[in-house]
């Protein structure tokens, strides 16, 4: 490229970028999707969507009024995960359970203290099984809380009075990488990927289609503007909005949800840039092919946003899904980005994984932007 030609390239690119930026700022819909929606998603996913169980109501039916029985369930009062609801009869408890007013029932039968003395006391724990994952968690917490007392008693008795599996060894559970086991920590990195998909793919899917629909592209094509310049001008403003979304999410992660950052912030930002290019490329391809805003927005939703939500390991671990879904999931670029972010946030700089996933994202970006360039011809037929 000769000097004057290069100057003209920059002049045209700047003019087109300025135009796109103005249009973006003046379109309330784009602002809503680019700025408002990320904020709503952060608050929604951060506070509303939680996989944790806290203060789950549980009916406690003491058919034996002895102090030993009361002491046996005292552990339930102490755990933050369960809030016990003392009831007089099993009938009442079952009614509450049926109405889903309580998530489970702890029942101490009338002969509890007698059998405790005999050494074969039982406590019945019933959990509402409609939500299997939640039921499991509640069962575990309840058992844990009840075991406290049994262990103490066993300690006092100086032997395996209660028999069964509980010995004197205290079991200490430990989770790696999300040591508090807060699902917010697990969700926020995925949320970043989701928001960047939304801004990148959804917004750019509308821009080319909008110009096709309004007939403005026809006028733009018959100018010295080259297709590359038109595409670059469309990418730049949306790239900036996407990065702003990233900053918003990072700030929310740090200050709102106190997610720890074990890895390098620079690596997070660089990989996010790569992923944003992937998302923008996907949006531009959808937009150029459909030439219709309605169709483009539907396609962007189905092809980019939903897979990023459902198939990327954001909600469901890909190792636990059937093989075909697993394969599809690994074709979704968001899968690699989410893996990258979770690693960087919660585990630290695992460079082999970071480099591999960054390369995968770069390949996706190159392929998608290449396709966008090929399908953006200055032709109407």
């Amino acid at each position: 490229m000769t000097g004057p030609a290069r100057n003209r390239f920059w002049q045209r690119l700047i003019a087109l970028t300025r135009k796109e930026t103005r249009q973006l700022i003046r379109d309330p819909g784009s602002i809503a999707i680019g700025v408002l929606l990320p904020i709503v998603l952060i608050l929604l996913f951060g506070y509303g969507l939680s996989l944790d169980v806290k203060n789950a109501p549980m009916a406690v039916v003491l058919e034996d009024a002895s102090p030993a029985a009361a002491q046996a369930v005292a552990g339930l009062q102490l755990t933050p995960y369960i809030s016990p609801v003392p009831l007089a009869s099993m009938r009442e408890a079952e009614a509450l359970m049926r109405d889903r007013k309580v998530d489970g029932i702890v029942r101490l039968p009338g002969d509890f203290s007698r059998r405790l003395a005999a050494g074969d006391a039982t406590i019945q724990v019933i959990v509402h099984g409609a939500d299997a994952a939640k039921a499991n968690i509640i069962l575990r917490y309840a058992t844990g809380a009840l075991t406290q007392d049994a262990l103490r008693r066993a300690d006092l008795a100086g032997g395996a009075a209660l028999g069964g599996g509980i010995g004197q060894v205290s079991i200490e559970q430990r989770l790696w990488f999300n040591s508090a086991n807060t699902s917010t920590w697990y969700l926020v990195p995925g949320l970043i990927a989701l928001i960047m998909t939304l801004v990148g793919a959804f917004l750019t899917a509308l821009v080319m289609a909008r110009e096709w629909e309004r007939g403005t592209l026809e006028a733009l094509f018959v100018t010295p503007a080259r297709p590359v310049e038109i595409l670059l001008a469309k990418i730049i403003p949306y790239f900036i909005v996407g990065m702003a979304g990233l900053l918003l999410c990072l700030a929310a992660a740090r200050f709102l949800f106190a997610v720890p950052m074990h890895g390098s912030l620079a690596a997070v930002v660089v990989s996010a840039m790569f992923y944003l290019l992937v998302a923008v490329g996907m949006g531009l391809v959808i937009s150029s092919v459909t030439r219709n805003q309605f169709l483009a927005s539907q396609l962007a939703l189905i092809l980019s946003f939903l897979p990023s939500l459902m198939l990327s390991g954001f909600l469901f671990d890909l190792r636990n899904v059937p093989t075909p879904i697993n394969v599809i999931g690994h074709a979704v670029p968001a899968t690699y980005f989410i893996e990258l972010l979770r690693t960087l946030f919660l585990a630290g700089n695992v460079w082999s994984l970071v480099v591999r996933d960054c390369l995968i994202l770069l390949v996706y970006a190159a392929v998608l932007l290449g396709i966008a360039r090929v399908v953006t011809r200055k032709r109407l037929d």
Partner: protein, 667 residues
């Protein structure tokens, strides 16, 4: 450029572009073909069929033809936005298929919808195109000053382009193409949907550009009077170039064949016009004009036949216009197409007439004859004017509402102080008028004048803010549903179900109007015959050619025998032949007692109306017969104003008086 092909013959090949300096034609195409595949249609559309043309540089050339003639396709080929299936096209000596970018670097192009960014301001739009074309700072300053002086856009620099009126948008679109001097300027229908005032301004700008800057300009247009101002005219019809040359050469085709005849006193010109049109063996074309009838006779018709048709009315020869030449050429083509078609059907398939362009062309010359024979049978004789053989229209013409002798028909639409506001914007300010039974009543006005709003209030689609409105004896403000059963409405766009057949559409809308059983069948048969749709009941509505669609829409609107028929811009985008046919039907309808309310932006169509209303900026500026309106516009006793001139005059007067009134209020 004086060569001029005989009607129907292929144009002689244009000279190849030559490399010599200054000798290169702006555009040179040879044997251009282009087909499109339309979704759902079995046959691809032939947009361009063997088009060969050469457009000289440094002059103003027009590409003329109705919608679907291939104008836009040809311009898009020239702009490098499409590639021809066959043939070669050189623009400024460059093969545009080989090197579109080289052409795009040198030309400017304004697409049909002006190509403006509506969310950018006037200045931002201009700056964008100046930057894209690499216009320098100093050059830009000087250029902008001239563009602003030319287009009067200076006042609106910071206004968003989307907030400009249609005429201003068009001027901004033009200004964007002129931020530098292009070697060729292509404008695709710049005057479509723009009011006559703005159209006139645009043409004076173009004239100036070509005269002063020696610019090469190619403009496509559906208006033949616009093409008359160009140095060359290229007439496209159905994808073929049927004529090219100076307007004079095309005019020549009709020279000595054009006459003006005044109808007998007390009759509407359209009655005489209908009679003339119904004799296609003698008359090529007839149209009302300035209270008289202008007609073109066939060169081979004998004088006795013409005299018999005129029935004692004297006819004065008048100079031919471009449109006359165009009609002569078109009729010639049709006669040929008809011969070809009948030969084909005899030889190969004795199938029912295909719904192709050729088929339509072949049927048209006989259409008026068929219609006139039928008018007394299928049309309900409600107006009491069931006359003799084919005489309905003429018989009613004598009891024309404006004729002082006859008893005045009853009032069917009464409007008093009608107001419609949208927020603090007054779309219609205190309109009052009434319409009598059997009248053809026209609503005219520039875009945004309030005619659509008025129209919608009249047919009960939009409630009025205040005022009195009675339609067919029913107060629309209190009993809208009841009034609706008495009116028929034909929307501007095709508002029927495209994927239903003709018969299914009629059945559905008949049912919606409460017709069923034998009554519905009987009405369907009647309207099918009335609108020449019999035999096409099975055809898919969406795939019908434009003229057929419009006839189906009219047939649907008349299924329930409404007293009043509302037509919104019925003739926009259809060719002159189809427009004549349309007005012939309207004339017959009015004769049978149906009141017709019509909006149009073709000013000459006001001549078909008994009375018209001219609106501008929500105000009613003029009401009366076309004659009265012309007089109000200040037409000199002799110098007959065309309807368009009268319209422009009245709107200008109206704007001037509102401006002085405004100043008075400020003082």
């Amino acid at each position: 450029m004086k060569h001029f092909p005989a009607p129907g013959l292929p144009s002689p090949p244009a000279p190849l572009p030559q490399a010599g300096e200054g000798n290169i034609p702006a555009l040179a195409g040879r044997g251009l073909h282009k087909r499109f595949r339309v979704k759902g249609a079995a046959q691809p559309t032939q947009a361009l069929n063997d088009v060969t043309l050469a457009v000289p540089a440094a002059s103003l050339s027009a590409l003329v033809g109705p919608d679907g003639a291939g104008k836009t396709t040809l311009l898009r080929l020239a702009a490098g936005l499409m590639r021809a299936d066959a043939g070669a096209l050189h623009v400024l000596g460059i093969d545009v298929a080989q090197n579109p970018q080289a052409v795009q670097d040198r030309i400017s192009y304004m697409p049909q919808r002006f190509g403006l960014y509506e969310d950018l301001s006037v200045q931002e739009n201009l700056d964008l195109y100046a930057d894209l074309h690499g216009v320098g700072r100093d050059e830009r300053r000087e250029r902008y000053a001239r563009l602003m002086a030319m287009t009067d856009l200076g006042r609106f620099g910071t206004r968003l382009a989307g907030k400009l009126s249609g005429g201003m948008k068009q001027k901004l679109g033009l200004a964007c193409t002129l931020v530098r001097s292009p070697d060729l300027l292509l404008l695709d229908e710049p005057t479509a949907g723009v009011d006559p005032l703005s159209r006139r301004e645009l043409w004076s700008i173009l004239r100036q550009l070509v005269d002063e800057a020696r610019l090469s300009v190619i403009v496509s247009t559906a208006y033949l009077d616009e093409a008359e101002r160009c140095a060359q005219v290229f007439v496209l019809h159905g994808g073929r170039l049927i004529a090219q040359g100076a307007p004079d050469a095309i005019r020549q085709q009709a020279s000595g064949l054009c006459f003006v005849a005044a109808p007998p006193p007390g009759t509407a010109p359209r009655a005489l016009q209908a009679r003339l049109l119904d004799a296609p063996a003698t008359i090529i074309d007839a149209a009302p004009q300035g209270g008289e009838v202008r007609f073109i006779r066939r060169p081979d018709a004998d004088n006795a036949a013409v005299d018999a048709l005129l029935d004692g009315v004297s006819a004065m020869p008048v100079p031919a216009r471009l449109e006359d030449g165009f009609m002569v050429l078109l009729r010639g083509r049709e006669a040929q197409a008809e011969v070809k078609l009948s030969a084909e059907t005899n030889a190969t398939t004795p199938s029912p007439q295909p719904l192709s362009r050729e088929g339509r062309g072949a049927s048209t010359p006989f259409l008026y004859g068929r219609l006139s024979q039928r008018t007394n049978a299928p049309l309900p004789p409600r107006g009491g004017g069931a006359g003799g053989e084919g005489e309905v229209a003429l018989g009613e013409g004598h009891s024309h509402p404006n004729a002082p002798a006859s008893p005045t028909p009853e009032i069917v639409i009464e409007v008093k102080d009608l107001v419609r506001k949208f927020g603090d914007f007054t779309a219609v300010a205190s309109a009052s008028f009434d319409v009598r039974r059997g009248e053809i009543f026209g609503l005219l006005g520039p875009n945004g004048a309030g005619k659509t709003t008025t129209f919608r209030m009249l047919c009960g689609l939009l409630p009025a803010s205040s005022g009195f409105l009675q339609v067919a004896g029913v107060n629309l403000r209190t009993a809208r549903a009841h009034a609706r059963s008495k009116i028929g409405y034909v929307a501007q766009k095709f508002a029927l179900y495209g994927n239903l057949s003709v018969g299914e559409n009629l059945q559905f809308f008949g049912g919606a109007y409460g017709l069923r059983g034998s009554r519905l069948r009987e009405r369907m048969q009647t309207v099918l015959a009335q609108f020449d749709l019999a035999g096409h009941e099975q055809a898919t509505s969406g795939l019908l050619p434009g003229g057929f669609k419009q006839r189906l829409a009219m047939a649907t609107g008349l299924l329930h025998e409404p007293e009043i028929l509302f037509l919104d811009e019925p003739t926009s985008g259809i060719d002159p032949l189809a427009r004549r046919e349309f007005w012939r039907r309207i004339t017959a309808l009015a004769a049978s007692g149906v009141t017709v309310i019509v909006t149009t932006h073709f000013m000459e169509e006001a001549e078909y109306c008994d009375r018209i209303v001219i609106q501008d900026a929500g105000r009613l500026l003029a009401i009366g017969t076309p004659e009265q309106v012309r007089a109000q516009a200040g037409g000199a006793a002799d110098g007959r104003l065309s309807m368009e001139e009268a319209f422009i005059g009245i709107v200008m007067q109206g704007r001037a008086s509102s401006r002085t009134a405004g100043q008075g209020a400020h003082a």
